[in-house]
């Protein structure tokens, strides 16, 4: 059998002793300290992922799903849609903008305050994140325009 020679070049003495050790005594399981440390780290990672998923997950809904949503007054939700032509109204002084997004045959009025993305205009796809009370327009906290990225071909808006 060909001896496994990793490390032999680097540290001859150690490898020889290790080979002796393997032939004379049975394989020792991983030391308890390693096991405990490993479990602690893995546990921490899993806890962090789990807890933060619970805390930060946001529903991603279609407009029709949103209309039947009962928890969306208190829980942030993301909705995607296309900005309807002629629906954009800007209030320069309060930096407020209202518009309607269309998703299939459903429409949803949205109000948003803040800086509007460069490429925002009727006809583009946007994602809004915020709260919805059914009686008033969707209160968006973030407005994301789908930005055509590096590999997009040249006429993104018409797609």
């Amino acid at each position: 059998m060909r001896p496994i020679d990793g490390g032999r070049i680097v540290q001859p003495a150690l490898t020889v002793s290790a080979e002796d050790a393997r032939s004379t005594r049975p394989r020792k399981p991983l030391p308890l300290s390693f096991l405990l440390a490993g479990i602690a780290v893995l546990g921490a990672v899993i806890y962090l992922v789990y807890a933060n998923t619970q805390a930060n997950a946001v529903y991603y809904m279609t407009v029709s799903e949103l209309k039947h949503c009962s928890v969306c007054t208190t829980q942030a939700v993301r909705v995607a849609g296309v900005v309807q032509a002629g629906s954009v109204v800007r209030d320069e002084q309060k930096q407020l903008i209202t518009f309607v997004i269309v998703d299939g045959n459903q429409t949803l009025p949205v109000t948003y305050s803040g800086v509007v993305p460069d490429i925002f205009r009727p006809g583009i796809q946007v994602v809004v994140e915020g709260y919805y009370t059914k009686v008033s327009p969707f209160l968006a906290q973030t407005l994301l325009a789908k930005c055509p990225s590096k590999f997009q071909s040249a006429t993104p808006v018409n797609q």
């Binding site: 893995l42 962090l48 997950a57 930096q95 460069d118 490429i119 994140e129």
Partner: protein, 674 residues
Amino acid sequence: MYFSDLGTVSLILALGFALYTMIVAVIGAMRNQPQLVASAQRSVLAVTFFLILASAALIISFLTHDFGVSYVAQHSNLAMPWYFTAAAFYGGQEGSLLYWALTLSLFSAIFVFTAKRAPVVLIPYVVATLMGIETFFLIMLTTVSNPFVRILAPSDGNGLNPLLMDPGMLVHPPMLLMGYMSFSVPFAFAVAAMVTGNLSSDWLRSIRRWTLAAWSIQTTGLVLGAWWAYHVLGWGGYWGWDPVENAALLPWLTATAFLHSTMVQERRGMLKVWNRALVILSFALSIFGTFEVRSGVISSVHSFAYSDVGSYFLVFLAIVIVFSTGLFLFRLPKLHAEQEFDSVISREGVFLLNNLLLVGMAFATLWGTIFPLISAVIRRQTMTVGPPFYDQVIGPLLAVLILAMGVGPLLAWRRTSSAALWRNLGVPTIIAAVCAAVLPLAGVTDILANIGFSLCAFTAAASLYELWRGMCVRHSHGEPYLLALYMLFNRYRQRYGGYVVHLGLVLLTVGVIGSHFFQIQQDALLKPGQDMNVAGFRLTYLGNLDTKEPDKEIITSQLQIWHDGQLQSYIYPGRTFYHNFDDQPASQISITTFGVTDLYVFLADWTGASQATIRVFINPLVPLVWYGGLLMLLGGILCWWPVRTKRAAVRVSQTSDVSRSQKSAGIESKGIVV
């Protein structure tokens, strides 16, 4: 006959040679016929030649504005400067796949030229694996994603997306794509090692340098991407945890883990299974990233041109995973650790911790990225997680990682006596404590930021202190300090290159903490003569300018920056409208750096000549992110740089390894029980 026809023919020939290489290399290896293997190696060079030819054909088609080529017409126009026209080569899907294939063939050619350094039995399988990957790309390039498809030529092309008309375009995409691609070589080594059953550590020495190269390229690509986003997108940040960014980070994290755990295998013959898994995982994640970006299964703010290519990548990813997992399980019984773990408080203990943290980060990032899919399956409701999720998960893990980075190099292999540990940790601990005490006085009251800064201080101090002690030891043998420093880097390039990388990451982390906790944002609607005051800076708005050029129109606002009662400079944040991309203006962001603080000014909106909405971000410490990135790249290159090139490489690297480990026992590890 057009250049594009030459391109198509070259691609088909390259595909033929790639298939030939794969088959002949494997047959040559199985029948033990060296002449077949040699033929396969030459055939790799043929593949490289034809891909260079195809790429040249595409670039010439661009530069000669041959709009009869659909891809050229879609991604360039007559008005673009020649360098963007040439860079449009990788500006779209077909071209970026050709670029992938080209760089892979170049790396394969480099491998062939340096093959005598690699273990002989591995060569045919490495070549076969590389050409297997190349075959996949060439099949796509010749069928569904051919950049040379001809159309009836329009009089002018569409031009490049305005966001891409930026110097970043010239450097970031080629780096990142090359980074993705370069994980192929370590993967090919791992496959070759498992196929041949040559499971010794020989291949690790070859693979480590290839991974170091991949790591350095990917680091550069990531930092350049962050820099580009910062200068172009106008939201004041450089990293948004977008699925597309995450996809690039994932293989980087696993490759970083591998670069550390491979040292444990080299020194102590342990973690063999783990190392192979990391190499395979890095490559699979780089393919996953490409798939995710192309397929549209995950909704991203970046929307790419979705096409069938995504499903091809999914099939390829499945093949890669099934094939390598199968090989892996087949060889698992032969992968014994040669030694056993002794103590957690040891170098290998910290390496294990580092690996768990990095893989944990990769897992968390992957989880967040594909969470919409997971939740759709489990809860029957699509949900997403945003940047807060990543900040809160990655933040604590990064903090522990930074701490481990400081402690690890101070520990000896196998076990460290607590006396030696405290002797090494004393100075850095005191410095960190001083930092923690002084920061609140300097105005840093945020407890998390303070912990972060202090951990960074600890690790920076530990790394620099190590360097200093190394210099002192050499100095006591009669070398002047500067020569001692040079000799340290010259002799123990990997070790000290590693410290440089660590210092770079610490610097980068300081920048991240600064911009995460202390960013100030302020908006103002201004008329000429009006001021806005932000964090000691006064901005006076003067009016809007409108510049008309043949292919574009630029609107800029003119502002003065006043600081300490002095006029510092005039700035012109604005917006560029390219005529053929009217609906997609590109922001001109004004970034002025004062020491380590960026004043980031964005023209949010304007009306006529005399009204503008200005958004200002004060971004403390962000320049450190770029300096840190540079330092990491420098460290990566230092680690990668060949030790000596004069004599036969394998012998040299072995003997120098021996002398290095003996010397390190003698001089370097003063006071540490090895």
